[in-house]
């Protein structure tokens, strides 16, 4: 018998039964209150949803695009796996790549779960376990992912701890399966990746709910305030504290300190990445500089008076770069201590003295409350001494340009192979305009500088030459509003499922775009004009605010923040992605009255067949983006990624010609039947914005569309294909079930093509299709691919 009093009592009997009394009491309490019938998979373990994954993956086959031909994860290797050979442990290349994808998802989901853990731990200390989760009168389904996956309804911040216990346990279980000598079927690794993606959305939901209720962020407010966004916000006559990362805690305490000391109008907080987004949810005066691609630029500008880092997506040379510019750095996270001495217990004034005098380049302070005071005092003292031109003088720029020998080492090192040599060549004759084009695509990653034999500070040259241009890219972003309200879902649930709102497009993720940052806005405006709903988060949410039209308006000023046709909804930071899956889950619950509790496969199956939502990660880079997208996929939501997303190494792509893969059970007619292949991919790469636009419109099609919905969706798909690809799409006919599905304006032309090119029989007197479609349209069509769902509803 084993007794553990700390967290309840554990009695370990011979029969291998482990009972944790502390948790039992809580779970019983939660169970007692039978708020909803319990579905088949509450708190699913690794294999519990494998049957659902195998259904998905049999349709949406994983395809792999390895970056390496070998594996070197253990010392029996490196093993060459070219041509799907097996390594010393017996694993083949395909399975090894599925294993790598699972690792990437684990990294991403762990980042969010740990972020959530930090927040919840801190908030319990500050506000107590019993702080209620109250998202306002319009939000009853407070945590759709948690309800769906765990089968519980969290009522307090304390309940969120239990959710995290489950998530962390599952993540470790999956991590264990990565060890050499485990799975031999790539589909089993993919199932694990999907499991991790699902867990990720639970972890994100915990993090965002916790911070919304504790810090009183907007609670689904479509009119959340407009925030200044763009590099130009750095130009200020006040001391500036630059906060970087993803965890609001230090930045929030800086903000509190400023307010408590009446300094809120004397010192500015500007942020990069999601910390910036979340700080502006807390205080709309906070400024958002931009995404990851502005980190080096912001530091090298020399403008910030102090830099405060927390966790995730922060450059690993931040301390070195800050030191070069004489900017003191305060690290605050266990995840990124940056080699600094831990000064958490020291007197704040002593730390301030050391940082301002330059005695130390940076410090680690683990107590977010202390960071507030130190950061503000340092910024105010350092500001007094600010001097020197931004990036460099005009003479130095000329000198650096003259040094270039056009060797192209930088071009080969650059992830976008930007032609810096050409820009340098033009600049030698006084024309700096090519740098503006480069600036728009450049990630400021600095790889070019590492390669340059002439030691040219290429990032600074680009910034100096394009400075006027970049300052102009300053606009407005609507502050992250958090979840979608139940009242909004009630209004749009039906039109989304019918298809009369043609789709929900979700631009999310990082800024590793293939070309100009402006392309995200161009893609998205195409859909806003066509009355799709757009829901965004993270870096995409920021970049959508940076470009203004001729009247000086950014997209957030042109389109309302409602979750309705033509609305542009910013949910918030990375962890707010859970509200996008949350909205899809809520449609199933509120509009279709499906039970959520522990009922994952049924809800995912519903979403896959009826809710035309598609993610767009146009510049994916991080492992978090991989796990977020994979979580979308398990829930039946496809995602389109930009070309850099091919480096995630795998897609989920259905094959149109494999007719036996495109079937459903129809609950109405009690038949297993063939269906049109839509959506036909769950994860797919698009090379250009033109291709992405057409792909997004296409992936909004769902078998459950009514004829009115299908007609609208096909109209957009065909119009966009003709506009961007120059012709009709190659597969449009597959989605026609009846002449009523055809876009009215193009009906005659399309009927003719169906007859001439596809051999369909048409009754021209009635303009009716007599023969040809994969299936006939039936208004009561009720598709599912899950047997237990079929059994449940069939009468």
């Amino acid at each position: 018998m084993d007794i553990n009093i700390g967290n309840g009592i554990i009695i370990d009997e011979l029969r291998n039964i482990t009972i944790k009394i502390g948790d039992i009491v809580d779970e019983e309490a939660l169970r007692d209150e039978e708020w909803e019938e319990l579905g088949p998979t509450p708190k699913p373990h690794i294999l519990d949803l494998r049957y659902w994954d195998r259904k998905l993956l049999s349709r949406y086959e994983p395809i792999y695009m390895p970056v390496q031909d070998f594996c070197n994860l253990c010392t029996m290797g490196p093993c060459e796996l070219t041509g799907n050979k097996e390594g010393a442990c017996g694993i083949d290349l395909r399975t090894q790549k599925a294993r790598m994808v699972t690792i990437a998802c684990l990294i991403g989901a762990s980042a969010h779960a740990t972020h959530a853990r930090h927040l919840v731990h801190y908030l319990i200390e500050k506000f107590g376990r019993d702080k209620p989760i109250d998202l306002g009168p319009d939000i009853d389904i407070e945590a759709p992912n948690i309800r769906l996956v765990l089968g519980i309804k969290p009522k307090t911040i304390g309940d969120l701890e239990k959710v995290l216990n489950y998530v962390e346990q599952e993540l470790v279980r999956v991590l264990h399966t990565i060890h050499t000598g485990q799975e031999e079927d790539y589909i089993d690794f993919e199932s694990k990746a999907l499991h991790v993606g699902m867990l990720d959305h639970v972890g994100m939901e915990v993090a965002d709910i916790a911070q919304i209720v504790a810090f009183n962020y907007p609670k689904g407010d479509p009119d959340a305030p407009l925030i200044d966004v763009g590099f130009g916000v750095l130009e200020s006559e006040k001391p500036i504290i630059l906060v970087i990362g993803h965890n609001i805690l230090p930045a929030r305490n800086i903000d509190d300190y400023l307010r408590e000391h009446g300094l809120e109008n004397k010192v500015e907080i500007a942020g990069l990445c999601c910390t910036a987004i979340d700080t502006s949810r807390y205080d709309p005066r906070a400024k958002v500089v931009g995404t990851l691609s502005y980190e080096l630029r912001a530091i090298r500008s020399g403008i910030p008076d102090v830099v405060v880092t927390d966790e995730q997506c922060i450059r690993a040379d931040t301390l070195r770069e800050c030191a070069k510019m004489g900017i003191p750095l305060i690290a605050t996270s266990e995840a990124a201590a940056r080699g600094l001495i831990d000064r958490t217990e020291d007197d704040p004034d002593e730390i301030v003295r050391d940082l301002v005098s330059g005695n130390v380049k940076g410090v680690l302070i683990r107590d977010p409350d202390k960071v507030g005071e130190v950061a503000v005092k340092v910024a105010m003292n350092v500001y007094k001494n600010r001097k020197s031109p931004i990036y460099m003088s005009d003479e130095e720029l000329e000198d650096l340009v003259d040094r270039c020998t056009m060797c192209m080492n930088c071009v080969f090192a650059c992830p976008h192979n930007l032609r810096i040599d050409r820009a340098m060549e033009l600049a030698k004759s006084g024309d700096y305009s090519y740098f503006e084009i480069i600036e728009d695509t450049c990630l400021a990653c600095g790889r070019c500088e590492q390669a340059c034999p002439r030691n040219i500070r290429i990032v600074d040259v680009i910034m100096k030459a394009a400075y006027k241009h970049i300052r102009e890219k300053t606009g407005k972003m609507r502050a992250g509003r958090g979840p979608i309200k139940d009242t909004e879902i009630r209004k749009v649930g039906q039109p989304i499922v019918m298809g009369t709102i043609p789709g929900v497009i979700a631009p999310i993720g990082c800024p590793n775009y293939p070309k100009s940052r402006k392309e995200v806005s161009e893609i998205i405006e195409e859909f806003l004009k066509r009355k799709y709903i757009v829901v965004t988060t993270g870096c995409h949410a920021m970049d959508l605010g940076m470009y203004r039209d001729e009247e000086g308006k950014s997209l957030y000023e042109k389109y309302p923040g409602v979750f309705d046709a033509g609305g542009l909804v910013n949910c918030g930071s990375c962890v707010s992605n859970s509200h996008i899956t949350g909205a899809a889950i809520k449609i199933a619950a509120i509009f279709a009255q499906r039970k959520l509790r522990g009922n994952y496969a049924e809800i995912a199956d519903y979403i896959l067949h009826r809710i035309g939502a598609v993610g767009l990660a146009w510049g994916p880079y991080s492992q978090k983006a991989a796990s977020i997208a994979t979580g979308f996929n398990r829930l039946g939501i496809p995602a389109v990624v930009g070309p850099h997303g091919s480096k995630y190494r795998r897609g989920y792509v259905g094959k149109l010609w494999k007719k036996d893969k495109w079937w459903v059970y129809d609950i109405k007619t009690k038949k297993k039947m063939e269906i049109e292949p839509c959506p036909d991919c769950l994860l797919v790469v698009a090379e250009t914005k033109e291709e992405a636009i057409v792909q997004l419109a296409r992936l909004c099609l769902r078998p459950g569309d009514t004829y009115m919905g299908r007609q609208i969706k096909l109209t957009h798909y065909i119009e966009l294909s003709e506009k961007y690809l120059g012709c009709l799409p190659d597969d449009w006919h597959l989605y026609v079930r009846t002449e009523m599905d055809l876009p009215t304006k193009m009906k005659d032309r399309l009927l003719k093509i169906l007859e001439d090119e596809h051999g369909w029989k048409i009754d021209w007197s009635k303009k009716k299709i007599l023969e040809g479609p994969i299936r006939k349209y039936d208004a009561g069509f009720n598709p599912t691919i899950v047997e237990h769902v079929y059994d449940k509803y069939v009468r």
Binding site: T82, P514, K655, V684, V685, E687, V694, R698, Y724
Partner: protein, 157 residues
């Protein structure tokens, strides 16, 4: 131009470098089994689009146009098979030589890697940057020279 590999990767088997003359000879013999797959760079590079249109007219090779590259080719009077990247494998029946042009180099490298490991067809890259994951690849060349030579070699195709 540099003998470097763009975005260096870690391939055990690397493409054999070939010149336009060799490819022209292959095409002469096996045109009916070949297909030219074009990528999105044709949308931004008029000269490349012109050259590819000429190449197609002279050789009569089939074209699968991805990434929106169908538009500039259709505008130049070329009959193409328009295709999203996700549908590319649907179009590869009856061909066993795939020639790629006009792609983001890092994306093409991924597509070629998939084919190298999991399909048994001959891949050729005629893009500006050497593509190690192809079976055959033009070397690095930062101008249109190699493609121009290919077009002129194909005149008597």
């Amino acid at each position: 131009m540099k003998e470097k590999i763009f975005n260096p990767e870690f391939q055990v088997e690397k493409a054999r470098k070939i010149g336009p003359e060799t490819l022209a000879r292959i095409l002469k013999k096996r045109k009916s089994k070949s297909v030219l797959i074009t990528g999105g760079k044709l949308l931004e590079d008029e000269i490349l689009a012109d050259l590819i249109a000429e190449l197609v007219k002279k050789s009569g090779i089939k074209v699968i146009a991805t990434g929106g590259s169908s538009k500039p080719l259709i505008e130049r009077g070329i009959n193409v098979n328009t295709c999203l990247l996700s549908h590319i494998t649907e179009k590869l029946t009856d061909v066993n030589i795939l020639i790629f042009v006009g792609f983001e180099p890092y994306l093409l490298s991924r597509l070629l890697s998939n084919i190298k490991h999991f399909l048994n067809v001959l891949t050729v890259s005629i893009d500006f940057y050497y593509q190690p994951n192809a079976k055959l690849s033009f070397p690095n060349c930062d101008n249109y020279g190699l493609i121009e030579t290919l077009v002129s070699c194909l005149s008597d195709c």
